[in-house]
């Protein structure tokens, strides 16, 4: 069990980000804006294709459910990763690293805290988008029930370890590499077969994609929305991969911090 001191320090870092977010309407709006716009846009796109293809209402519902579910869940992954990297960049922009990392805050506690922050940011973005889909398309992602939670947490996990790895790169390369925080997850999307089945990919991309938990989550999502079947195997595979990558992500970020302490870049970060 985590000692009281650790919890207090994790809460302190979370509180720091809560203060920033809770008083900044533009930041909150930005977090909610993109998931909602994407959901509305992709909903109409799927309606358009289903209607032009002469699909009946049942097929249209399946197409909508599959595509909108994928859009929302992919956004969870993306927002979690970006939220985590931004939590680090916030400290760089505020030139606060020199105070934070000479306090008793352990790197592991800081990682836990920014994972929590990124989860909150992802939820703030995803919940309005999910609710908006109900009046727009009569689609409720919550109808998936328990499997939704499993899809959700697997993608959150993937967002976390990606965020840890990207943050490690930012620690190493400096804030000049900030665009990595925005680009990296998008680069993985084609491999993860978010909006299509993996068999449309070239063989080498399918093989690479198997290494990403998201591919298994989205296969699981399609099995549920298209065939009404929940296949636990997909979730276990995704979970196992996530565990391995989380350990690697935390170790790499820990190494990056130590390297920054060796080269003296920790106190200069942001300058």
């Amino acid at each position: 069990m985590m000692p009281q001191g650790s919890l207090s320090r994790i809460y302190a870092v979370w509180l720091r980000h809560f203060y920033i977010l809770s008083r900044s309407a533009p930041r909150l709006l930005e977090i909610m804006y993109w998931p909602s716009v994407q959901m509305v846009l992709w909903g109409f796109v799927s309606r358009f294709f289903a209607a032009r293809g002469g699909a009946d209402m049942a097929t249209l519902d399946v197409a909508l459910g599959t595509l909108l579910g994928a859009v929302m869940l992919w956004d969870i992954l993306f927002r979690t990763q970006v939220g985590l990297s931004i939590a680090y960049l916030e400290e760089i922009w505020a030139r606060n690293m020199g105070h934070l990392f000479v306090s008793p805050l352990r790197p592991g506690e800081w990682m836990c805290a920014i994972m929590l922050v990124s989860l909150c940011r992802a939820l703030v973005g995803a919940i309005p988008a999910a609710l908006l889909a109900v009046p727009f398309y009569g689609f409720s992602v919550f109808d998936m029930g328990l499997p939704l939670l499993l899809f959700f947490f697997n993608l959150v996990f993937m967002g976390w370890w990606l965020g840890l790895l990207i943050t490690a790169m930012l620690v190493k390369a400096g804030p000049g590499a900030e665009s990595l925080a925005w680009m990296t997850t998008f680069a993985l999307a084609p491999f993860c077969a978010v909006y299509y089945t993996p068999d449309v990919l070239p063989l080498w991309m399918q093989q690479v994609g198997q290494a990403f938990p998201a591919l298994h989550v989205f296969e699981g999502l399609r099995a549920l929305t298209m065939r009404g079947e929940f296949i636990p195997h997909y979730m276990w595979t995704a979970f196992g991969l996530n565990l391995v990558y989380m350990a690697i992500g935390a170790a790499v970020l820990g190494w990056a911090f130590n390297d920054a302490r060796r080269h003296g870049t920790l106190l200069q970060a942001g300058e």
Partner: protein, 270 residues
């Protein structure tokens, strides 16, 4: 407040042995050894590039030494730095606190990071002592330099540290604000017995606050002693002139005839 008068049996608040920091071909800190005894104010002086900031970063555990050891409040910073960091604090005008947060929010966050009990009471106490009341609920970025310095000082005292590292605490402040800060620090040390290691370019500040001085040049400690001794030994009228002598290497005076070595039985460097 003089560390020289501290009992010989008490353990040093800071103990540094053969500390070296190399960056590729540059030796920023070159084998320095010193002790700072509890309860005094010690200045770390030197021109730009002398190695003061690098030394302070190593004392804080933010920078790993190439070799040598640092013990803060008895804790080895290589193995046990978080227990030491819990009992110390740091302030520098070159390291900011989050400017979008209010002073109170910053103090709440750092108070929790340091595990301060009865935090709101401690914040109220610091607000009163440092006269933060007028602006404690305003964003840090909207405050004047003097107010920001007081807020930063409050953060550095929030955990009632036993050891405080200050990097140019009155840089860019007007004489009145700077004087108030010095008076407060002097009074606070007297009341609490806190130890301060202070890097400063302001020699008046050093004369007023410090009972010991470590003079650095090109990564080495080239002289040490209390300000009055140094002024007398260099045959100068104040620390400003001593500083110039050391920085420019123009001194006719020899360095301390007996360099106290902390390793030796009588050694109590600073």
């Amino acid at each position: 407040m003089s560390s020289a008068s501290a009992p010989a049996v008490s353990a040093p608040a800071i103990s540094v042995r053969a500390l070296v920091k190399e960056y590729k071909s540059v030796r920023a800190v070159d084998g320095i050894t010193f002790d700072v005894m509890p309860g005094g104010v010690t200045a770390l002086l030197g021109g730009n590039g002398a190695g003061k900031t690098t030394t302070i970063a190593m004392l804080l555990g933010a920078l790993l030494p190439t070799s040598g050891s640092v013990h803060m409040l008895g804790h080895d910073m290589a193995r046990d730095r978080f227990r030491a960091l819990q009992r110390m604090n740091f302030s520098s005008p070159y390291v900011d606190l989050p400017k979008k947060l209010t002073v109170r929010e910053n103090l709440r966050i750092y108070g929790r990071l340091y595990g301060v009990p009865a935090l709101e009471k401690r914040i109220a106490q610091l607000a009163e002592e440092l006269d933060l009341g007028e602006f404690i609920d305003r964003g840090l970025g909207k405050l004047s330099a003097g107010q920001q310095t007081r807020a930063s000082l409050a953060k550095s005292l929030v955990n009632a540290p036993e050891l405080l590292l200050l990097d140019e605490p009155t840089a860019s402040l007007d004489p009145d604000t700077a004087d108030r800060i010095r008076a407060y620090l002097q009074d606070y040390c007297k009341r609490t017995g806190m130890t301060i290691l202070l890097a400063s370019h302001n020699m008046k500040e050093v004369e007023r606050l410090c009972d010991n001085v470590l003079m650095m040049k090109r990564g080495r400690i080239v002289d040490r002693g209390n300000p009055a001794e140094l002024v007398a030994r260099y045959g100068r009228k104040d620390m400003e002139e001593v500083f110039l002598d050391v920085a420019r290497g123009t001194s006719a005076a020899a360095p301390a005839p007996h360099h106290p070595d902390p390793e030796s039985p009588e050694g109590e460097a600073a």
